[in-house]
Subunit: 374 residues, 4 copies
């Protein structure tokens, strides 16, 4: 198969991460050739041209529709603000491109499901950008759970705590506006946690949520005026998985001091496993077997015996970084496009995540337990 040609839209934080991964994936995963960094779209021709040069793309455009129209492009990679995802994804699907989209897939669960169905109907490969779950240690945790190493699983704790909006003086951004961002901490951070929970324990059946806006207004850095914050700074939820396992979620963008506190604990009859993205190269495991006097949580350092670590480094404990997760994700996408492996998390997973988010919002609004639609 020829090297897939990528058209990347958006060159902010996450767009650059994608570009770095597209440049590096070939050298890291010798199993396959590098994709072609072909066309880069940004908000203006000048910005796009400069970014293309910086990020190793061959061509650029100031109009994202050019990406869809270009027959040379095999894969459309969407790294724009949330409110643009739907229109771009649908256009890419309509053009018969494979689509790779950052989370959240859309602003509502219904929209997300529509996109996923359209992608299926068009027969294109579709994948979400939920990079955290690509961590070799999370894949190891998934394997431990699936293999019964923890015994019967009966409880889940998860959090995603950051503090990027913690400062009361932090400016108003598009993330605070519902029609641009959808929900707040839920969409930006909670979506990752929900996806991670899905990876480990499967679907979520019902939730009891609670939302909190800590700072009701923020200063618009352009106008200087205070504007309303239209979505939650913190989301909390009691949850119940389809398997019957209960758990809790805690999600915050105002968790002063936390920078990337995506964590989970999974409790089982034979052991417990837990993780914190701030120490992303460590997995903590308690094995209930063995004498009490020698038992304790062990800190497993990521190494070549964990899935997908070895191509980065043959030595354990040397450490992967955040950007490496995206390299693994891109490799997964390339495999899916080549038909070598199922695409996951696909857009259906993206829609499923969004249904959980909406159920939490509905539950918080109605102060009642809410079923997550199947």
């Amino acid at each position: 198969m020829a090297r897939p040609r990528f058209g990347l839209i958006g060159t902010g934080f996450i767009g650059r991460t994608h570009a770095i991964a597209l440049n590096a994936v070939g050298a890291v995963f010798a199993e396959r050739e590098a994709p072609v960094c072909d066309l880069l779209a940004d908000s203006s021709p000048a910005a796009a041209s400069q970014a293309a040069r910086a990020l190793g793309f061959a061509r650029s455009t100031g109009d994202w529709r050019d990406v869809m129209a270009d027959p040379a492009i095999d894969v459309v990679d969407i790294c724009t603000p949330n409110f643009l995802h739907r229109e771009m994804a649908l256009a890419a699907i309509a053009a018969g491109k494979h689509v790779y989209c950052e989370k959240p897939l859309a602003l509502t669960a219904d929209e997300a499901r529509g996109i996923a169905d359209a992608a299926d109907a068009a027969g294109v490969t579709h994948m979400m950008g939920f990079n955290y779950i690509c961590n070799p240690l999370l894949q190891a945790a998934r394997e431990m759970i699936a293999a019964g190493e923890l015994g019967e699983i009966y409880a889940f704790r998860g959090s995603y705590l950051e503090d990027y909006m913690s400062d009361p003086a932090a400016p108003w951004t598009w993330r605070c506006k519902r029609e641009l961002a959808g929900s707040g901490a839920l969409a930006d951070l909670g979506s990752h946690l929900i996806n991670l929970a899905h990876l480990l324990l499967g679907g979520i059946a019902r939730v009891q949520g609670d939302l909190q806006v800590v700072h009701a207004t923020r200063r618009d850095p352009v106008s200087g005026e205070r504007r309303a914050v239209e979505n939650e700074d913190i989301a909390r939820a009691l949850v119940e998985f389809g398997s019957g396992v209960p758990g809790t979620f805690e999600i915050s963008r105002v968790a002063t001091g936390y920078k990337c506190g995506l964590t989970f604990t999974v409790f089982g009859t034979k052991g417990t496993v837990e993780f914190d993205q701030e120490r992303m190269n460590e997995l903590r495991w308690y094995d209930a077997a063995g004498p009490a006097a020698r038992s304790g949580f062990r800190t497993i350092l990521a190494g070549p015996d964990h899935p997908d670590y070895r191509p980065f480094c043959p030595a354990p404990g040397h450490g992967l970084g955040y950007n490496d997760l995206k390299v693994i994700e891109v490799r997964n996408l390339l495999r899916a496009i080549a038909g070598e492996a199922p695409a996951w998390p696909d857009f259906h997973e993206g829609a499923r995540v969004q249904r959980v988010m909406e159920a939490i919002e509905h539950s918080a609004a109605t102060r009642s337990w809410t079923e997550v639609p199947a």
Copy 2:
């Protein structure tokens, strides 16, 4: 004032902790004389006699009513299983004794309130055994919050995770039976967490709880038969303090690998403070002031500049232990009896804790948000 004479009832885990503290408090806190370890009551004359000798008590009895009837006794110290607390406390109050009672105060909130009211009416000093809050670092955390060092407080996370019932083969005990223990993890562990939350942030207004029994039956070690577990192994709750601050609780006696995971995080606009009893000599504090490049959670080791540490050791970081907390608690009780300081946590606090526990149970049963009675 003469040295108060103690009558201690019960010589299990916590009874011994009380005895050790009563023996040590005088030497630790040179501010006051040691109490008199006078009369020890246990389930039989022989057991009591042996225990009295071991624990440094002058006299013993196999009948706890002797303690109430003895005019020499100033303070009754109740360290028996939960279901006995009420009868003993009321008898002690009726006899005009000061009463020091382990948590939970009673099996129901109504009973607890009744005991507190009776104690007030009798004019005796009453205090609960919520030893964890005596930790110098928790007192420091309370001071930091009260002094505004964290800015405006807006979120709370708390947990108390142990695994003493985690093993499916762990035997049935009285703690599994409602009429002997009341609730399960809530009464045994949650009561401490609720009291700690009260200390830091004041009263709790409403809750949304969820209870889980992981192991429905356990083997009775006497009969060998399997008996029903009548109360929860895990309790989870969304909570809202009277101040409007929301939070979450997570309480488990089946948290495989956790031995004493009483933890909290308090988030404020200027900083965050957190604690884990498994590292009881460390307080983690993030101060949002100062440049980002030099900011991070700092680990404050307990030391003589924190309340009540210095009498144990003038050097920082040398470490207090679990039993030392009880020594501080006894000192607090002695101060209250001497009229030098208010008694806290008193029986009203004990009853308040129980109202929160019951509200969580009610909420879990009705699947709805539940107000905590004032």
Copy 3:
């Protein structure tokens, strides 16, 4: 046997710790009766009287020689500044008392050996106050090493880092003066580390040391004048045990930020064990057996399955404190006096520690490897 009657000399930091332990040991270790806190000596009758009342002693004196002369006293407990140890210990031995002495035993190794020999000749029980090694987790580490759980041992790293003299403005004290303190960080901190190394791996054969005075003078808080610091702030050494195992020591009283950093790592072919007194309830163990993907240092929390923990608390992870170590030490002393167990660390161990200290000093002075006399 009758309860041993103690005469305690000195009521500073460590004297109070002894007093607390003497008060608590009976209640903690039900195996034996409490010793009698009989006579307390301090520098003046008034100070001694006040301290006796505070610390639960029956009688007091302003002249330590009264302790030696008093036939009621069975055990002399020496908690005075270093330079007084020798005279007091010899006097106690001459009076036929059992002697319990804080480290270092004397100002020189020769003096220390003389005291040990005198104690042997008198047939009295003698024990050093090296409390850290009483930690249940250190006893567990010793057992693991002895039982071969780490395989063949081949390397040792140890440190004792504190910062009590770190501040350049910290005042001059008797600890800075050779004729009062002997060596500096070595005597105060290093003695503990050497004793700990002895416990784990046996005697030390030779050393290559390096000493450093960071702050050459300090202000005398009485006279206001600057006085010379006559001994080391930091000691470092390459060491070689008699078994052939090499290692390193690092000892500092000016390790800014460290409060009680007594640490060690022992490396073996099958595993590694390590410890840090600042987290005295945790032992870290790496077991080289098992698959790499599941291997990591585990954090073992102290619990009732470790030696001497259970009498303090039947639940794991609740935590011992610094003062609890002294309670265990006192129990060990009582056992030795009762002839139930050998006294260790006895004065010969105290002298052995001192020979290592002197060898490090000699090596640093001569810049050469130095044999430790047997």
Copy 4:
């Protein structure tokens, strides 16, 4: 300036790391264009051809001398086993190429100095592959020290502990043979620690070293016979910097359980800073200013306010990985080649590191303090 064309020799562990970095550096550091991955040399034409395809190189050769002879090549990148470094570096210098060489530069200090002098004479840019020091947090530590944030520096502790040879059954490799590897743990790991010490505190004046071979023979995986291990498994040293600051080094390739324990602590009058590569996104800092009750080591998470982090990710705490360090190193090399910044660590630093290594070896052999030649 045109994009520099790289000729890379060697495609093992570290060669692949170089290739990944060469592919990624352009996208990460938008400040400059990507270098050209032009010619790849490996031990056979077939291996080289396959590797070139996998690692994104345009051309390949089975003879490294082709790289030197090729006029298109601007930079020779040497990633071969230690014993080949010298010959290749001298050939590249002779051909007027810029040279980028993995550590150690040569098998002896004299050879290393000769290479550095030759490179200077030829006027080419030369740089060593000491990637760890590229960590944004280590650059921050260097800045903190240089700016006096720690006050006057007076002590250093450093270690580099791995366990890749810890298993007694680990096979004999070329690293065990002096004429192929030079020294053992010193060359492979110690060189990094020495370079790091140089970065932070400058040159080392004298050392007292101790070397240890734990496993005297290992099984040759080819012949099946046991072969001698000709160099040290562990190196320890007392050191003294040119500034007068003393310190210690501990270096091991048999530190069971340690995977990448490159650590240091720098002590100063105003604070302490420390680091552990196994948690490479954390810098621990103790600031002695401020009240004792609020002081503690803080854990600073790497973020965009630290040097060179932002181009990887604008959000703090998301984490860099081992391979990212090499990307920064390559960027430094490109800057040096472009004349925008001095090359450091250059070959003179490589030679300086080697002189320290040899001084440790000499000291261990003679059992005496040894001066490091200037």
